[in-house]
Amino acid sequence: MSHPSKISGNFFTQDGKGTSPFRLIRNSLLTGLCISLSMLALLPLFSIVMLVVKKGMPLMSPALFTELPPPPGLEEGGFANAIIGTVIMVGIALVLAIPLGILAAIHITEYEPSSLLSKAVRFVAKLLNGIPSIICGVFAFAAIVMTMRSFSAFAGGIALSILILPTILLTAEQALLDVPNAYREASLGLGATPFQTIFRIVLPDALPTIMTGVMLAVARAAGETAPVLFTALFSANWIHSIMEPTASLSVLIYNFAALPFDYQVKMAWSASLILVTLVTVTNVLAQLFFSPKHR
């Protein structure tokens, strides 16, 4: 079965003859080792998903989504304010990063694909992608929290926008590159201006892929803790303005995970369940969206 004559066609007519048994056994052993190592690596993933579902489910109730976190020791309440905080901060990040990322992507694919600035943008996007997420938080702390003298949802949103900008920019670039050039030529040939061509022909065709990038960015931003940990901090109350400390699901998990109160730890698991569900659903949707269209 594992002898290459099966794979490489009809060059050998006598299957396996002439190959010493030692080589064949070694071959099968390595195949077995490779498959079992691969399965071993997936074991923790199953453990994580099972544990998150098992420990996160019991607390799931409407109260979790409508009430404030309880004071230590009390066994009631929810994390509605953290959900609102996460939504607001991810919203700020999207409002800033989507236009910036997509416009820059249009610039480097449609207008000046080979200019020095475009090369710099591609390089910077890759570097930003590699920068640790906590550095986004450090920057927002230095630039906004220290200037305003207050932790705020605004600072958290800025940090998250820097985090997701490369994702949005790079997927938008790929999406625009995937639009066949014939579309552009046809549009320009019919007398459309470059602006009309981009807005009526190129962008609509690239939109599903761009949206995929945005979705993945949302899932990533919602789960990131390091950028909001010391920019938005945390709060046990409802949010009144974006210029005050704000709770988020991810920081709630971090803060509650090590508390000695059973109920708080359960809340951390429930928040994890929400985030893991969000991430899984967006990744499945992204897989469906990414089906190649033109090939």
Partner: protein, 320 residues
């Protein structure tokens, strides 16, 4: 430079046609590009500016200092630097064999394509799970395991400094194990890409000479893909160094110098995560200094990894 070419128009896919008035849309696209590039400079500049008082005060002694005590105004990051390097290297040590095995598994036809696609999706999901969830899982699963078996290790191998007791649950080993899991998708994805990029003629040639499948993999395919695998390792190292939350929750946050895998340690990113919210005065500046070091280290590693990756792609062109 860019502004000039906007006025004149350069040969791109779209800039033909008559334009009677200035193209504001094109200008805003240009502006977005410029802003993106400026953003990196702004981030580096701002952090460097806020770190300046500490850089001035502590100089390079910051890197070799072994004490971090905000109360006494003494700041040194040597133990933290060692912890960062040790946890990342250890994570790579665990993740490399597994990641390579998955990459080979995904690029060979051991199992039907749908099964492989499913496993590939699972590995990608591993990358998408939030860091803080890994931390929570680590607290409940890995910490007890390490505590239990670490005690046995310390008992049996305690004479080696590497396994010296007492064994803690929150230790360098715990953080490295979880980190390994988190960099696995990076190693797998890039290694798989370089394995798939090996020209099929090489494989066919090896098979035609009578090599078994694994003789072909070990003798021809892996060596050809080696530069890509090296690149994946370097990029994963960069990711491991910057990983924050899971490490902060598991490593024990101790600035004490120790060479045992079983004792608590700290990393640059975990230090930042734990201290920023309550820091004041010169401590903020010292933390910014630590952030500068983290940025320099990760940027250097990432640029090196990208360079190796680009070279790989070029070197394969000649083989086709």
């Amino acid at each position: 430079m860019g502004g000039n070419s906007i006025a004149k128009g350069s040969p791109g896919p779209i800039n033909r046609g008559y334009r009677p008035r200035p193209d504001f849309f094109r200008f805003s696209c240009f502006l977005a590009s410029a802003l993106t590039v400026a953003l990196l400079a702004l981030i580096l500049g701002e952090i460097l500016y806020k770190a300046w008082p500490a850089i001035n005060k502590f100089g390079l002694g910051f890197l070799s200092g072994v004490q971090w005590s905000p109360n006494r105004g003494v700041f040194g990051v040597l133990p933290v630097l060692i912890g960062t390097a040790a946890s990342s290297l250890l994570a790579l040590l665990f993740a490399l064999p597994l990641g390579l095995a998955i990459a080979v598994f995904l690029s060979e036809n051991f199992l039907p394509r749908p099964v492989r696609q499913f496993i590939r999706f699972m590995v990608e999901l591993l990358a998408a799970i939030p860091s803080v969830v890994y931390g929570l899982w680590g607290i409940f699963v890995v910490v007890p395991l390490v505590q239990q078996y670490g005690a046995v290790l310390a008992d049996k191998l305690g004479f080696l400094p590497l396994f010296a007791g007492p064994a803690y649950g929150n230790s360098l080993l715990t953080a490295s194990l979880v980190l390994a899991l988190m960099v696995l998708p990076t190693i797998t994805a890039i290694s798989r890409n370089s394995l798939v990029a090996v020209p099929p003629t090489l494989r066919e040639g090896a098979y035609a000479l009578g090599a078994t499948r694994w003789e072909t993999i070990l003798g021809v395919i892996l060596p050809t893909a080696a530069p890509g695998i090296v690149a994946s390792t370097i990029l994963s190292f960069g990711r491991a160094m910057g990983e924050t939350m899971a490490v902060a929750m598991l490593i024990g946050n101790s600035q004490r110098l120790s060479c045992s895998l079983l004792s608590p340690s700290n990393t640059l990113s975990a230090l930042l995560a734990n201290q920023f919210a309550e820091a004041e005065g010169i401590q903020v500046s010292a933390l910014m200094y630590a952030a500068v070091i983290l940025v320099i280290m990760t940027l250097a590693v990432n640029i090196a990894g990208e360079a190796v990756l680009r070279r790989t792609q070029r070197s394969l062109v000649g083989l086709k």
